[in-house]
Point group: C2
Chain length 147, copies 2
């Protein structure tokens, strides 16, 4: 939960993005600023703890607005629901655990814009290179097997 000051910071971010400042938007931004990579449902359950009247559809709407405004990034790892994160603007990549689906951030790997120049791109105007590393996280290496 954010203090009033923190909420005003978040409100400011919304205003700079030309978005109306509403309680659900502050709440969603707040939740995402804290933790790492959350799906819509997790965001929803966290939001309703403090804002019980919020609907799941509102959360979807807010997330879509925040993503469109560039305040939130949406990633969709194969086999998981879409995940949202507040870290934006640095085009970092992701490490996904094949076992527990946990997601970790990784910074850009090779130089600044790695792998941004495929050898033959057939006239494609490439805009983003998205890199997902699949592996087994340290907890899952330690534990026998997961659910």
């Amino acid at each position: 939960m954010a203090t009033d000051t923190q909420q005003e910071v978040l409100a400011g971010r919304l205003r700079s993005a030309q978005l109306k400042v509403t309680a659900p938007r502050i709440a969603v931004l707040d939740v995402l600023s804290g933790r790492g990579h959350l799906d819509a449902d997790t965001v929803f359950s966290t939001v309703i703890e403090h804002l019980p009247k919020t609907s799941l559809q509102a959360v979807y709407g807010v997330l879509a607005a925040l993503v469109a405004a560039g305040l939130v990034r949406k990633i969709e790892p194969a086999g998981s629901p879409a995940l949202y994160e507040a870290r934006v603007g640095d085009n970092h990549h992701h490490l996904v655990c094949l076992n527990c689906k946990q997601v970790q951030d990784v910074d850009c790997v090779i130089g600044e814009s790695p792998c941004l120049t495929p050898s033959d791109m057939n006239g494609f105007a490439v805009q983003v290179a998205e890199i997902t590393f699949w592996g087994v996280c340290s907890s899952c290496q330690a534990a026998p097997a997961a659910t």
Copy 2:
């Protein structure tokens, strides 16, 4: 549609993978060997042209078996249903059109195993690096806008 000789080749591939040779499996392998990146539903509609009794669930089952056997690769670009391709074993990457969702293959970009070493991987045992390039394909650059 494959000739009898081609079907025998596909059957051999199934046998080498310890999979029973069945008509739906041959048909699915055949469809995927021809075209590029197809979703389950497209595979299904193509298969039933020659094998009308095949069910969609059978196609899902066959695709899962082929993927598990390593004969087919499954990719799940954000915003599209899962796509399947017969090109396996070379860990190539994909170029996805933001507009028409068309997918093209791209060969590995930097050396043989590009981007396989994130700077800080926090104990993660990385197994695959999956790279997806997002951009606009040449047809969509030419045309005004798509559906």
